[in-house]
């Protein structure tokens, strides 16, 4: 099970956090501090796993961003490493060659997409196509609602779609 997902920039700025196990705000800050200290200082040719407080943190660096997922000691590390990559590929497809700025200004999109990939700290969907389709549907729902707000006519017809 994935306990949490962190996106941290090379400067230690948090770009996304998602917690599947209950942590208080105080604990969350502490975890982020500890892990960014550990992970950002690691050299490039090392393995993608760090042992931390009896858990394992699987991380991977993409350009200036570190994607980290915390799992149990007995979980399959490589499987999780590829969940990270799966998520990155989906982001890439959605934003069209994703970069850190995309994730900063559209952090809410990153959250929506993550919710289509993981629930309860488990992989929900392994087809990139399916995830892309679902996210597109959501976007169109939001767009539709916006248009509808502009033109007052269609209120009820779209509401339940």
């Amino acid at each position: 099970m994935i306990h949490f997902v962190l996106l941290i920039s090379r400067q230690g700025k948090v770009r996304l956090t998602k917690w599947y196990s209950p942590y208080s705000q105080k604990e969350r800050s502490k975890v982020i501090r500890e892990l960014s200290g550990m992970i950002l200082s690691r050299g490039p040719k090392l393995c993608n796993f760090v042992e931390w407080r009896g858990f394992k943190v699987v991380y991977k660096r993409y350009a200036s961003l570190y994607f980290c997922m915390c799992i149990n000691q007995e979980d399959n590390e490589l499987e999780v490493l590829e969940i990270i990559h799966h998520y990155v590929e989906i982001l890439d497809r959605y934003f069209g060659s994703v970069c850190e700025l995309d994730l900063i200004f559209n952090f809410h999109k990153a959250y929506y997409i993550l919710d289509e990939v993981l629930i309860a700290g488990e992989l929900q969907e392994s087809s990139k196509k399916t995830v892309a389709r679902l996210v597109a549907t959501q976007d169109s729902l939001v767009e539709a609602a916006k248009e509808e707000a502009n033109s007052i006519s269609n209120i009820i017809a779209q509401a339940t779609k």
Binding site: S24, L46, N48, N76, I119, A120, S126, S127, L141
Partner: protein, 1001 residues
């Protein structure tokens, strides 16, 4: 990609990004928070768009690490908005801002439920996602039926179904009772027939969790899992979009193999064959390719397959294939694979007998200990520790020592401990052991506990050959400019005892030795000063005729410390001064320490004989048996964790020895603690490690403490020899005492004494039974068999059939706690003495609380846990009557002694106690346990007890366990010592020196 049309939000983010420093950022954030707060407060009819925007800003600020202590209500209220855009924001922000313990979430339960049972698919998805991500127990209880309905409904589309499966998984984790096993096993089987791989992946995750909790109910699903694997790995029958770099859904393959590992075995031969075919394909068919992601994915499957093969304990051939693969992996360049290779080798050692094959890779593993990556070094350390035995101990321990010099601080503690354990377990000879421990103290003194150096002292004392070497080594270390305090202790002790053996060497005259020790005195702490004073006295004694200059120097020091504020030091100074004035008489009193009891040394001599097998030493699968190591292990006679315990054992032994040499110098004993040395060379009284301290310890302070610490045991062995073979100790009482400590005598009768020493780590324990023959003829037909309850796995190494006269053998015993239970294992111990067959059933003190590890919780850690375990069966309450009356303080002590650590002040009511601990077993892993006891000051015989943990069985067992402790009268309670009842059936004859001694104490 265009910014998503929320200009205010984008502007805010840009502004934050443009802040030059943290201070500016904080100001900007505070300003924005103030603004949002005002808007929320003052504008009742905030437009949905505005509300959405502010809620996003809040989330952004929260993500940056600032506290956002308002506006939760607004986020939650968006959930009930009628339109999708607002609802979506409400759900997402709520699930990020709050966690499952948050009270606000309760407000949302109804809306969430309406969305789940409503007809709108997109709303269903949002609601299921929220519950799946942050749903707690309350959600579990109120929503599980609805979620289950969705999961099995035929009209429900895949996008909802897969979310429902994972949502149910979360609810099941929060409260396993919400998934009714009877109804669910068939449903689960149907779910595994699913063709849609998204739904199947989610369902498989749910299944893994269910089956890990109870595999019995899901046997019918087993063939389906194998079918899934066949479909993926063999037939590759998967839509294109579900392949990942050409591999048919690696995630689903991994999960399915994981699920299969929860079944103890696969009985049906066809299913088994089909599975092995798939596994064989995976093992053979996984090649290293250039693409990193493809490589990772295929190796994720491969490692899971390895784990499954290990679990099923497949045919030898397949197992050796696995080892060969792992051997390849630990040498590759790709660090992930190397890491996993090491990790899986360690796992493999635990399950199968591949020791010899893995040893072939030792050089490679040692290289990994020098890897630049700390993660890999850790794995290498674990593996080296697991694979160590007599044949390679020397190499491995030396590598560890070398590494200790460069290891990061965080790893040193573990490293030092592991090196010490291995050195002790597998030492080929004593001088090597000594070298290792001294180096260990030198390099990582902070991590070397006292018992380790006590042990060194014991070995040296018992081995004359070793003494000059030891003294020389100690002398060498003292030359270093800065040495660790522990090194100071052990060096001072050894030089005090044996420096005269070096006298002819340059720089080793008594005066020089004294000089070099005394140089360090200003830098050491009080307890070490005492040891130094003893060394001075010893040095003085050894330099006969006295060198007047040295004598004056030392006397001056004694004089100085006669007024020390520390009672221990003062007493030593006064006594040593007085003693040393006695001139030649000093020699008698301060003579060299005697050897540890004869029977030990006799074992050492015998260790080289054919009987070497009497003392099994390898705790790991009884693989190592070498004569040299026996020498060490047999000397290693007693636990030395804490001085009091050791003293206790020493005392227990005294009577049996005294019977023979009937000259206990009673007076000396009386006046000087345990200093009962009539004939130093015989050395039969001071039977233990601690003697260096005991001999010097003032009878007053430390003596009494010792007594009250060990309780009954110190006085126990008062017995009469002519009686028929009956225990001469109160077995029940002793058992109770051993329940709260880790070493002592388990049983004793006139012929046999059984000592026990235990080390507990997590859910495992390493015990050693010391079977001692007290008589001068051998004991035959010795048998020790365990009747173990189902929750413990016990592995006792072979017990010799004959115990030679006055010998002690050690039998290591491995205990694994499988699941919580308060049942007790029973040792059936029998032997023949002459024609008498003696048979005793002894309870083994491997009780529930041995698997506790103390933990102290603060209020903010305690209460959320306490609340989240809300109802039976995880939280149980009972009014207990007939409680043994005790004060609140006594009760707190009792709980603490059981390693249930009381957190004072946590409960506002002063009459209540709140305690916590962590319980370890294989099934529950580590599990937090919380206890609250509410007492009634008016009636001390009753109380109300509430126990909570994440496991229903554990909660129940723990509750019963504590109840037993409160109601019964555990005679281990410490104050009982002074009124230690002498066994009434066995009148003490006053001529029995043991009795005399006991009387004195």
């Amino acid at each position: 990609m265009a910014l998503s049309g929320m200009r205010g939000l984008s502007v805010f983010i840009s502004e934050i990004r443009n802040c030059q420093n943290k201070e500016q950022e904080r100001l900007r954030v505070d300003k924005e928070l103030g603004n949002i707060r005002n808007r929320f407060k003052n504008e009742k009819g905030l437009a949905p768009y505005e509300k959405k925007k502010y809620v996003w800003k809040m989330l952004y600020i929260f993500m940056l690490g600032y506290d956002v202590d308002f506006g939760h209500m607004e986020a939650v209220s968006l959930i009930s908005a009628p339109k999708y855009p607002e609802k979506q924001v409400g759900y997402l922000v709520t699930s990020c801002l709050l966690n499952e313990n948050h009270d606000f979430l309760r407000l949302a339960i109804n809306t969430v439920r309406n969305d789940i049972i409503g007809r709108n698919e997109t709303f269903q998805c949002l609601a299921l996602t929220l519950v799946g991500n942050i749903g707690g127990r309350e959600f579990a209880e109120s929503l599980a039926p609805d979620v289950q309905k969705l999961l099995i409904s035929s009209s429900c589309r895949p996008l909802v179904k897969k979310k429902a499966a994972l949502c149910l998984l979360r609810l099941f984790r929060k409260n396993p009772d919400v998934v009714n096993v009877d109804g669910w096993s068939n449903r689960m089987a149907q779910l595994l027939d699913e063709r849609n791989l998204g739904v199947l992946t989610s369902s498989m995750s749910l299944f893994v969790s269910l089956v890990s909790n109870n595999h019995e109910a899901y046997w019918s699903c087993l063939p389906k899992c194998v079918k899934v694997l066949e479909r993926l790995a063999r037939n590759q029958d998967v839509p294109q979009e579900y392949t990942y770099y050409g591999i048919p859904s690696p995630w689903l393959q991994v999960k399915t193999m994981r699920a299969l590992q929860y079944f103890p075995t696969i009985e049906d031969p066809n299913t088994r064959r089909a599975l092995f075919e798939v596994l064989q394909r995976v093992l053979m068919g996984t090649d290293v390719v250039k693409n990193v992601n493809k490589n990772n994915a295929s190796h994720a499957v491969l490692f899971e397959a390895l784990a499954l093969v290990m679990h099923l304990d497949a045919e030898k051939e397949m197992m050796s294939q696995c080892v060969a693969l792992l051997g390849k992996f630990i040498a590759v360049r790709e660090p992930n694979i190397r890491y996993l290779g090491l990790e899986n080798m360690t796992r493999m050692l635990m399950v199968t007998d591949v020791q010899e094959i893995i040893k072939r890779h030792q050089a490679q593993i040692i290289t990994s200990l020098k890897d630049p990556d700390i993660s890999i070094r850790r794995r290498a350390l674990d593996l080296l520790y697991a694979m160590c035995d007599v044949s390679n101990a020397k190499d491995i321990v030396e590598e560890l020592l070398q590494y200790l010099g460069t290891a990061e601080f965080t790893m040193r503690e573990e490293l030092a401990l592991k090196a010490a354990i291995l050195a002790e377990k597998f030492a080929p000879d004593l001088s090597w052991y000594m070298d290792v421990i001294l180096q260990l103290i030198d390099k990582a003194g902070d991590f070397v506990s006292d018992d380790i150096w006590f042990r060194v002292v014991q070995f040296v004392t018992n081995n004359e050959d070793l003494q000059p070497y030891a003294a020389l080594k100690a002398r060498e270390y003292l030359d270093k400019p800065a040495i660790h305090e522990t090194m100071m202790k052990v060096s001072a002790y050894l030089l005090g005892e044996y420096s005269h053996l070096l006298a002819r060497r340059p720089g080793c005259s008594p005066k020089e030795i004294f000089g070099i020790i005394h140089e360090k005195l200003p830098t050491v702490s009080t307890p070490t000063v005492s040891i130094l004073l003893s060394s001075y006295a010893k040095i003085l004694m050894h330099s006969q005729p006295p060198d007047p200059e040295l004598q004056n120097q030392i006397w001056a020091i004694f004089n100085k410390y006669e007024t020390s504020i520390d009672a221990e030091i003062q007493q030593r100074a006064v006594e040593y001064f007085a003693l040393s004035k006695k001139g030649a008489a000093l020699i008698d009193i301060l003579a060299e320490m005697p050897k540890f009891p004869e029977r030990e040394s006799s074992l050492i001599k015998r260790a080289g004989d054919t009987e070497a097998d009497t003392a099994e030493l390898s705790a790991i699968k009884s693989r190592a048996q070498q004569q040299a190591s026996n020498a060490l292990v047999v000397t290693d006679q007693q636990p030395a964790n804490h001085p009091p315990q050791v003293t206790q054992l020493a005392m227990v032994k005294i009577p049996s020895i005294n019977e023979e040499n009937n000259h206990v110098d009673q007076e000396v004993t009386q006046t000087n603690g345990s200093m009962g040395e009539g004939e130093p060379q015989n050395g039969d009284i001071l039977g233990d490690l601690l003697s260096p301290l005991a001999i010097e310890g003032p009878p007053g302070v430390s003596g009494t403490e010792t007594l009250s610490e060990d309780g009954a045991l110190a006085l126990a062995p008062v017995g009469e020899q002519e009686n028929a073979v009956k225990p001469i100790v109160d077995i029940a009482e002793i058992f109770h005492a051993l329940c709260i400590k880790d070493s002592g005598v388990l049983y004793e009768d006139p012929y046999v004494q059984i000592g026990i020493k235990a080390e507990w780590r997590g859910h495992q324990g390493r015990l050693v039974l010391f079977l001692g023959n007290k008589t001068t003829s051998s004991l035959d037909s010795v048998q020790a068999v365990f009747l173990s309850p189902s929750h413990l796995k016990l592995e006792l190494s072979s017990v010799p059939e004959v115990i030679p006269p006055r010998a002690q053998v050690q039998c290591p015993l491995e205990v694994v706690n499988l699941c919580p239970s308060r049942d007790v294992a029973v040792l059936d111990f029998s032997y023949k003495f002459g024609t008498n067959l003696v048979d005793n059933k002894l309870r083994l003190p491997a009780v529930l609380n041995k698997f506790f590890q103390p933990i102290t919780l603060s209020a903010e850690e305690f209460f959320p846990q306490w609340r989240s375990l809300a109802a039976p069966p995880l939280k149980l309450q009972e009014v207990v009557r007939g409680v043994r009356p005790m004060s609140l303080g006594e009760m707190a002590n009792l709980l603490n002694s059981l390693k249930l650590i009381v957190s004072p002040g946590l409960d506002p009511n002063a009459n209540n106690l709140v305690a916590s601990t962590t319980f370890y077993s294989e099934s529950t892993r580590s599990m937090l346990c919380l206890v609250r006891i509410e007492t009634d000051p008016a009636d001390r015989t009753q109380l109300r007890m509430t126990v909570a943990s994440g496991d229903p069985t554990l909660t129940f067992e723990l509750k019963e366990f504590i109840k037993e402790q409160l109601i019964s009268i555990p005679s281990a309670s410490r104050p009982a010592v002074h009124q230690q009842p002498q066994p009434t059936t066995q009148p003490i004859s006053l001529s029995d020196p043991g009795a005399l001694l006991a009387g004195l104490l």
